[in-house]
Symmetry: C2
Subunit: 416 residues, 2 copies
């Protein structure tokens, strides 16, 4: 790569950071997101990720889909089961999708848990446990997987696994690192945003099993945690870690902003607001999302930063200025939903901007699927399509959500 | 930053990647490294890092030396004590240096250990434990600190702390993560390179306390581990993790190459070789160092990569292509020593190349000290001079080692 190429690339980046070339056209957007999901993403994973010998999925896929590592991570096994079961239920009853979801669910059911029912973090290709159940999000994504399986193909075994695992999560929620917690008790007892955030989505994913009443009993706490405890009104931003009383901790962890996390959580909250018919809550979520986009957007190279320090100090994260796939596709979902709920022109403008950046930099026109990891300049510095953390989840979920939301926006437009 | 600036910068990078403009002049190099140590690095830390209220050092220093976080990390407290005690002993008996070392040693002695004598990982500014003693390298750098204190200012208390901690390390060495180990027992029991590597240096740092005989009893195992178990002759490279029998593990951990680690270890081995009068061992270490430099050098932008996968697969480390201060200054030490021992022209050429890159990109001409973290293009993407991992250690140690080695090379040249 020489200096000229970079100059040209930067000129194009400047151009795309304006929105004048993009009309917010829900019909075109719906068609584009639908086609990408059905013609590119789902086929890529069906073709490349199946472990036909041991069951389950390979997720470490190189640029062209080649399997470069065979370890199996419960997060990604569970998320891929969820994805194909969900698409089967929501789009069409394609028996290949259900069989593919079941291929992963069977593997998880057989090998994924220890004797107490806690989900390992990772396993070898043939299901031997590699990393202990130190991470409660393994349980969260296993719950999502079996809840979706039960919805797609009702089965008391799936239901029971989802229920048992959900009960584990609730029981462990205040001390979820258990004996793996390295924090000395009492010195700086921070609360972390991830679990309330995941629960705000998981409770709805589980509603057909838990029942409306039980979900209703969760929702106020989850909304309070996300929108009162972690949200800092004086900045209009959500912090990743706060003191137990919700106050600011002036420490590396306390100063940390994860724009993608906050933005993703805001569409979970919009979904809860929709369920509750609470327009004030939705508007608040939209405002936090817009603030976070303004705050987290790289004004020089475009794209959303991965981590920032709320006081502008150096972060501990060496990857702070990188541009990650999930951050951008979750922002697209949040923006589409925000526009659907509010009709706010700022949401349409931001959608156009994030859409332009995302499709230009993340999509791989040559080998299918999307890159996951871009440097600050928007160049893929890891060619992978899947790894330890990137699997078949954020992109297909986002494509589906944007597609369906654009259809609803179009219906609203037609009705007016 | 616009396209033109980048074009110019890249042209300069190409220019500096040739060595024709640099003569390997040990007199000039000795003067340059000495002056940088005495006139820039040590004064910067004396001026900005002292916690006059609580004792110990602040290490989270922004570009201009401002303290942006007050947490104290045992690695960096211990390393800074070592640094000032070592310089006091080796360069001149400057009472300010000794007092500054003692300032940190007193804090460590008072607050650094749990009831069993294990060293915490981090503490608050006023010495409350924050992160539990999960990391044996905290103990290693505390040992180095008190061994150096005892050398600078002999004291049975310092000696005892060094001895006790060293005994802890030896006792824990085969299961040093203890209850914090997340690996499921037996599935993939890898050995990690870090501890043998650190022991190859620590045993010499401790020799005045342990005695020559005890050090002699360690050395063969340490050399065997580094040069036989982790070294892979078919690649000429050292792996970060191997199967217990030293064979290759085709996993993320097993494929990992950390060029800086391997190169730093090679100068530890050269020091052991010098002590043993073993020229074959020294030549082997020089060859591995040169191989690793060839393998780890970024042919496009210059500098040494942080991590690589030996099969060329994507790494798990998102920071794999970044250029870190310690990697480059440790390479300079290894190259200077390699040239001193062998007179091999390849070592002089490589020294010139790494010297040119390092001084151009890491040194901050405006605010003193050196940047720690550069992106692939050699631009500082974190402005910090110190943080959780960068403190007062690698740069001053390397400046001292290169200065003294260049003097020895000059003496050899004069003697010829």
């Amino acid at each position: 790569m020489n200096g000229n190429t970079n100059s040209n690339m930067e000129k194009e980046l400047v151009q795309e950071a304006t929105t004048e070339n993009f009309a917010f056209d829900p019909i075109l957007y719906a068609a584009q997101y639908k086609s990408e999901l059905l013609d590119n993403i789902l086929p890529f994973w069906m073709e490349h990720s199946k472990d036909a010998v041991n069951g389950g999925y390979f997720t470490c896929l190189d640029r062209d889909g080649r399997v470069y590592d065979t370890d199996k991570f419960i997060w990604l096994q569970g998320r891929q089961v969820w994805c194909f079961a969900y698409m089967y239920k929501q789009i069409e009853q394609n028996p290949e999708w259900l069989a593919f979801a079941k291929h992963g669910a069977d593997f998880l059911e057989k090998f994924g848990r220890d004797a107490e029912g806690n989900w390992y973090f990772s396993m070898t290709a043939d299901g031997k446990p590699l990393i202990q159940p130190y991470n409660i999000f393994s349980d969260a994504f296993a719950t999502m997987a079996f809840a979706a399986m039960d919805k797609a193909d009702p089965n008391p075994r799936y239901k029971q696994i989802a229920l048992d695992t959900f009960a584990h999560i609730i029981r462990r929620q205040h001390n979820w690192k258990g004996s793996y917690n390295k924090a000395y008790p009492g010195t700086r007892p921070l609360r972390n945003f991830s679990l309330p955030m995941i629960l705000s989505n998981l409770s709805l994913e589980m509603e057909h099993i838990l029942g409306a009443e039980r979900v209703n009993s969760f929702i106020p706490t989850v909304i309070h945690d996300v929108m009162e405890v972690f949200y800092q009104p004086e900045h209009g931003l959500i912090l990743e870690n706060v003191n137990p009383d919700g106050s600011f901790s002036d420490s590396f962890e306390g100063r940390l902003i994860n724009p993608g996390h906050a933005i993703e959580a805001m569409w979970f909250i919009m979904d809860l607001g929709e369920r509750l018919g609470d327009k004030t809550l939705i508007r608040k979520a939209v405002n936090i999302m817009l603030n976070t986009l303004e705050y987290g957007w790289d004004k020089e190279f475009g794209g959303l930063y991965y981590f920032l320090d709320i006081k502008g100090n150096p972060t501990q994260q060496l990857e702070w200025d990188q541009k990650l796939w999930w951050v951008h596709v979750e922002a697209l979902v949040a923006l589409a939903k925000a526009y659907m709920h509010t009709g706010d022109a700022a949401c349409a403008e931001w959608f156009n901007r994030v859409h332009a950046y995302t499709w230009k930099h993340f999509k791989d026109p040559e080998h299918g699927e999307w890159f996951g990891y871009l440097n600050r300049r928007g160049e893929a510095y890891l060619p992978l399509k899947g790894g330890k953390w990137k699997g078949c989840f954020h992109i297909p979920r986002a494509l589906f959500q944007v597609w369906k939301t654009m259809e609803k926006i179009q219906q609203k437009n037609n009705a007016q």
